[in-house]
Symmetry: C2
Subunit: 117 residues, 2 copies
DNA sequence: CGTACCTGTCAGAAAAGACTGACAGGCGCG
DNA sequence: CGCGCCTGTCAGTCTTTTCTGACAGGTACG
């Protein structure tokens, strides 16, 4: 199969990824999931964190496309949400940043103020 | 000369880099400096940002080793601080994150509260 | 000597993010 | 049917960032 060209992520995407990974807890979460996939409650116990909090972090990671959550039914009928790490790959160089910065269409920038005049 | 082995940044370092880059303004700052080196005041005007604020962002970027500031004396004797982007390169994969997470010795974790008891 | 440009820092307000406890529901087992 | 374990969410707090205005210092020019 042919080579994959160097990825050029959008500013939006890259921003999400970087801010998601730029956090000790989230880094540990990813690390824990690399070892083995797990469901929310168990993972919370493993890394000593409240469920609501972990839920928020996982949500952030998933929004960045770094992990994937799947709701699976166990044999006994219990619904558990398993999380796996997504096979991501990003290169961080000044040029990549420059290109990404040019494509920041973000709404995070201006939270809808008025710039009339 | 020999090949450079895949870099394995410490959790501490990677954390700084990611949180530094995970910000729209800082991304644009890097992008602007890729185009051409510049000094603080001019850069502030260029991207429309207050000097104190820009100063803070540059400080953060420099702390992460992404840009380098040099205080230079202009011909007319004025002191101006020029900033250049540092030639950085980071690979972001689940494995890299996992390895980095293991080396988080951070003080960012607990901001030195009291856990005496 | 007042003006213009450069540098930096500090206190305090505003916004964003992280965190907690309580509550909702669902299913199976003794 | 109460208990245990699973899922999720919401309101409220607390901490961290982000941002602004004002200040202080320096050199050069008219």
């Amino acid at each position: 199969m042919p080579e994959v060209p160097p990825p050029a992520p959008t500013g939006d995407t890259l921003l999400k990824v970087l801010s998601a990974l730029g956090n000790p807890h989230r880094m540990r979460i990813v690390a824990a999931l690399v070892e083995r996939r797990n469901y929310v409650s168990a993972l919370a116990r493993e890394i000593g964190m409240g469920r609501p909090l972990l839920h928020m972090h996982l949500q952030r990671l998933e929004a960045a496309g770094l992990v994937v959550g799947t709701l699976e039914l166990a044999e006994d009928g219990k619904a558990m949400k398993y999380f796996d790490v997504a096979p991501f790959f990003y290169e961080l160089t000044p040029q990549v940043i420059a290109r990404a910065a040019a494509t920041i269409t973000e709404s995070a920038d201006r939270t809808e103020k008025e710039d009339a005049k």
